[in-house]
């Protein structure tokens, strides 16, 4: 399905030209990030955890210690989660305070999370979390042992109900403000990675892998 179907809570009422239900748009935003904010309801009040995620096809995977209260709250039947991934691309400096804005790309996904119990699917989810965050890493590391596997809670949520919202525009000012004698424009915001810092305990003959040296976001992870 190339488009997510709008629902009452994902239908974009205001500035709907900034919204998209296109899976390619949604997936590109999800693939560029690795940190999401997960909102949940517990005993009628909201809670939130910032956490690492992975996308695998039409699923989002989260993981954490089994003792993590927030992840458990996601699994309460009838309690949806709401996951947001946001990239801030620029500050928009207009001539009026009112028209100041931010260029951003954001995805919000809603749904009932479920625990990943099947061992094969769970291991694949953990692989995806490592590979989504650091593509190329999984083959080099020691994989989870039985005890670590047991300690780790993995949950998944279908990317089925959600939307993307994007502002990628220049300065928009009222005509009457164009003579305001102040600077106007964009201040781009960029995220950079590195240079890498070696663990002091690392043997000297172990070289920096190219996936660390040339680390970049926004790449598609192999679905295997």
């Amino acid at each position: 399905m190339a488009e997510l179907a709008p629902t009452p809570r994902t239908r974009l009422k205001r500035r709907s030209q900034r919204g998209s239900y296109d899976r390619e748009v949604v997936n590109a935003i999800l693939d560029e990030g690795f940190l999401c904010h997960v909102a949940f309801t517990h005993e009628g009040q909201p809670g939130m955890i910032p956490t690492v995620y992975a996308r695998g096809g039409d699923w989002l995977y989260l993981h954490g210690a089994r003792a993590n209260r927030g992840l458990h709250a996601l699994l309460e039947p009838g309690h949806d989660a709401c996951i947001s991934v946001t990239h801030v691309d620029a500050l928009v400096l207009a001539r009026s305070a009112f028209h100041h804005s931010v260029n951003y790309r954001c995805v919000i996904v809603y749904g009932q999370a479920q625990e990943v119990i099947d061992p094969d699917e769970k291991l694949e989810a953990l692989r995806l979390v490592v590979e989504h965050t650091i593509p190329g890493r999984w083959k080099d590391v020691r994989w989870p042992n039985a005890d670590e596997f047991k300690q780790t809670l993995v949950v998944k949520l279908a990317i089925a109900e959600g939307s993307a919202k994007i502002r990628a525009l220049g300065v928009i000012d009222d005509e009457a403000d164009m003579s305001q004698g102040c600077w106007a424009g964009l201040l781009p915001i960029r995220t950079s990675y590195g240079p890498a810092e070696r663990d002091p305990a690392l043997a000297e003959d172990i070289p920096l892998p190219s996936y660390v040296e040339n680390y970049a976001r926004g790449l598609q992870v192999d679905s295997k």
Copy 2:
């Protein structure tokens, strides 16, 4: 009060050495950011908005169009908001998949939001939002007129119930994994701003202000 008092939902149960209720720690994290995620409960289900915020003393200020559904959900009596600000500082590449981690600094604040109605307080909140995002900007721009003022909803939330959580460590691996022949270390993550892009409609004789050219985060805004 130098410390926020722990409550059942802010008490750090796991890895409590990473947590802090110190207002200075909390404020430094809040002052470095300008984008927060706000979680709320509406009709029993969670919702979330990424939005710009400002800190003014012991208050967080949010604003948006009066038609914004999320902001209105925050104002429902008996419905707390949960606000998170997260900075990701490094990826932590361990020798085992299990010990991979992220260095981060995060604040979570809970509380009942309220609308800012008093016009003086509301204008000051809008000034804080501009100055928190772009220190030095307010004096240069055209301030909100009566119509814009009316269209804008400003809400505030006391920084009273919350905590900071920080991971600022190197690689932590199990002793048995130290001979795993893979690279280990940190991949630092940095956010950079600029170079600024002039609005094409800007008069040529208007220079780039130093607060844009030398833009940096983490500075304290004048409380006036």
